[in-house]
């Protein structure tokens, strides 16, 4: 097992910078996720850790030892590729056994030992009935599990998993997550897990980083990432529906600061919240503008006015989910405000409802992402 430490790692493809000075530490025995949208540089980082892609600048350490110049064979890592990369001329069994047979690891397993290891991991991932097949006769989900099995069959210093369950159906995804957690616990393995799905990252990780265009946007535990997103980007990427982002004007009246978006959206800001809003606000057309962020579940709805700061809006739409409902409100500039309520929502479309923001969970951000305008016109 090893600790993996990236220090200002840069990767250039020609003149294009794919990774722009990424630093993070994945501690020994940790389940560490790299979350980011497509093209953020996640796979590139994983390949640099594996030694497949050379590092342009910066250093990668395994347990305080710089590994920049070590070829993959010398690093003792194990990797599951997003594109599976199963060896097409080998059966599933041979694919999984392939890392065990590499002379480099000096395992020298007898055929019986090898068979035991392969069958164990195959049974663990539920692919034990496929061992005699060739990869071309497998479905996408089956290939993915074979690729995962090949990565997990050997005891490696670090396991690098690139979207290892992205192509599984919903049920298998869930059970495979459970298996991965169990695997990590049983062997105390260091796992670096790449995904674009925030659910996987939140569900599995001990800690994680959020990546944006080759840069670390935030590093922390899943709780920190979800409940305290450092930027509007993180708030948008993590959560479904994502964090509400509302751009509004900062107005000062009689020494009290207000966050306004039109006449019907006025929030009184106090204490640290006011300070925070002031510190990140920017000038736009001579106005002081700031971006407010709040998660849908931190907004309360009620029929009666619950507090001085509550706002009154008509319901735009209600989406019922299994254990909760998402109530949508439509703001002045055609952005939506999502509110998650526990249980079945009793409000109907067009009904005027009081909206109350929980001040503990209100955040202010500078603007780093465009908020899409949804539903441009109403019939």
């Amino acid at each position: 097992m090893a600790e993996v430490w990236l220090e200002n790692v840069v990767k250039m493809y020609g003149k294009k910078m794919a990774v722009r000075g990424v630093s993070f530490t994945c501690r020994e025995g940790e389940f560490f996720s790299i979350l980011g949208p497509t093209g953020a540089g996640k796979t590139t980082i994983l390949k640099m850790i594996a030694g497949i892609e050379p590092v342009t600048a910066g250093k990668i350490y395994f347990n305080d030892r710089v590994v920049n110049d070590l070829p993959p064979q010398e690093r003792n890592v194990s990797m599951a590729f997003e594109t599976y990369n199963l060896y097409p001329h080998m059966t599933v069994y041979e694919n999984i056994a392939f890392p065990l047979r590499a002379p480099r690891w000096r395992l020298k397993l007898t055929p019986e030992e090898e068979k035991k290891r392969v069958e164990e991991i195959a049974a663990f991932l539920g692919i034990d009935r496929l061992l005699d097949r060739l990869p071309q006769n497998l479905s996408g989900g089956q290939k993915q599990r074979v690729s995962l099995a090949r990565a997990l069959v050997r005891r490696a210093e670090v396991y690098l998993l690139d979207e290892p369950i992205a192509h599984l159906d919903a049920k298998l995804k869930f059970s495979t997550q459970t298996l991965l957690k169990e695997f990590a616990r049983r062997y105390g393995s260091t796992i670096i897990y790449v995904t674009h799905d925030f659910r996987e990252a939140l569900a599995l990780s001990d800690r994680m980083v959020v990546l944006r265009r080759g840069k670390v946007e935030q590093e922390g535990t899943p709780e920190e990432i979800y409940y305290y997103p450092r930027t509007d980007f993180v708030g948008r990427l993590v959560g479904d529906p994502p964090m509400n982002l509302v751009d509004g004007e900062l107005l000062s009246r009689n020494g009290v600061l207000f966050f306004c978006k039109g006449e019907d959206f006025m929030l009184r800001l106090e204490g640290t919240l006011a300070e925070k809003a002031e510190s990140v606000a920017w000038e736009e057309n001579g106005k002081r503008v700031v971006r407010l962020g709040i998660r849908p579940e931190h907004i309360r709805l009620s029929g009666e006015k619950p507090s001085e700061n509550a706002l009154r809006f008509p319901v735009y739409a209600v989406i019922h989910e299994s254990e909760s409902s998402v109530v949508t409100f439509r703001l002045k500039d055609n952005t939506f405000l999502y509110v998650r309520t526990v249980g079945f929502c009793k409000y109907g479309r067009g009904e005027e409802v009081w909206i109350d923001f929980d001040p503990q969970w209100v955040f202010f951000y500078g603007k780093t992402v465009e908020v899409a305008k949804e539903g441009s016109s109403e019939q």
């Binding site: 993959p72 590729f81 594109t83 990369n85 199963l86 060896y87 001329h89 890392p99 480099r104 050997r154």
Partner: protein
């Protein structure tokens, strides 16, 4: 497909079949005819005649057919083996590391772009000085030279088809470059290797120009022997057809074999995991 379409299809098929089969049929029929039957103008005798082994007997008795045949076998097989070793390594290098940034690959292929005769005179002078004229080694060397460029080009395409990530996966799994070439790359490129090898073999087997110019007696391949039946006094159709009938056989087998592999080779992309 309408009736007209069907008719058209069969007319074209029959025509193509005729163009391909007729010369072969003519060769094999002629090989078993007596001189009288060969030269008769009687149309019926084109197909109906009394078969005889006379031409084959003459071929084996009066001419060094088997010696020349052996020359052809030795030259084509040995040159193909050497070509495959050189070309597979070169093509892998070009495909995987872009060795020479395309210039080297182009230079290699460009040796095939000028007519072979252009190179014949300098080669001849060089071979005379080196004492390589009329040697199997010398002719095999020439075949290697010409086939290497072609084989490298062909194999380059096959190697390019293998995803680089497959090799990266094997590296992570702990295998060295040499092991990866042996255990991953070679098995996957096998159909490509087969097609290329057969192409080289057939080319070398059929090659006439350089064989004609660079050999006399000792290293003479069978193609040159057959051409010698076209003498200044008479054309010996009998032995010529008998010789051709034997020499064609291996290439027919190769064509049959290639047909399966070329189809696999062409659909190689589908093999990807």
């Amino acid at each position: 497909m309408g009736t007209l379409g069907k008719v058209f299809f069969w007319v074209v098929t029959a025509f193509v079949l005729f163009v391909i089969v007729a010369p072969l049929a003519w060769i094999y029929l002629t090989a078993f005819k007596s001189p009288n039957d060969i030269f008769t103008t009687e149309a019926r005798k084109l197909i109906f005649f009394k078969p005889t082994m006379e031409n084959f007997n003459r071929l084996f008795r009066e001419f060094p057919f088997w010696d020349n045949f052996l020359n052809t076998v030795i030259i084509s097989v040995s040159s193909t083996v050497v070509v495959m070793v050189i070309s597979s390594l070169a093509a892998y290098s070009f495909a995987r590391w872009n060795t020479g940034r395309g210039h080297l690959l182009f230079t290699t292929i460009s040796t095939r772009m000028f007519p072979g005769v252009v190179a014949a005179i300098p080669f001849f002078v060089m071979y005379r000085n080196l004492g390589l004229l009329d040697t199997r080694f010398g002719l095999a060397l020439l075949h290697i030279y010409f086939n290497t460029s072609f084989a490298t080009f062909l194999l380059y395409g096959f190697f390019k088809e293998i995803p680089e990530e497959l090799e990266q996966a094997a590296m992570v799994d702990g295998y060295s470059r040499v092991d990866i070439f042996r255990k991953i790359v070679l098995p996957l490129v096998r159909p490509g290797l087969a097609v290329t090898a057969v192409f080289c073999l057939v080319w070398s087997w059929n090659e006439f120009l350089f064989s004609f110019l660079f050999t006399r007696v000792a290293a003479r391949p069978v193609t040159v022997l057959i051409s010698s039946f076209w003498g200044s006094i008479e054309v010996q159709y009998g032995p010529m057809a008998a010789g051709a009938a034997i020499v064609i056989l291996p290439t027919l087998v190769a064509a049959w074999f290639m047909q399966r592999y070329i189809i696999r080779g062409l659909t190689f992309g589908a093999v990807k995991g």
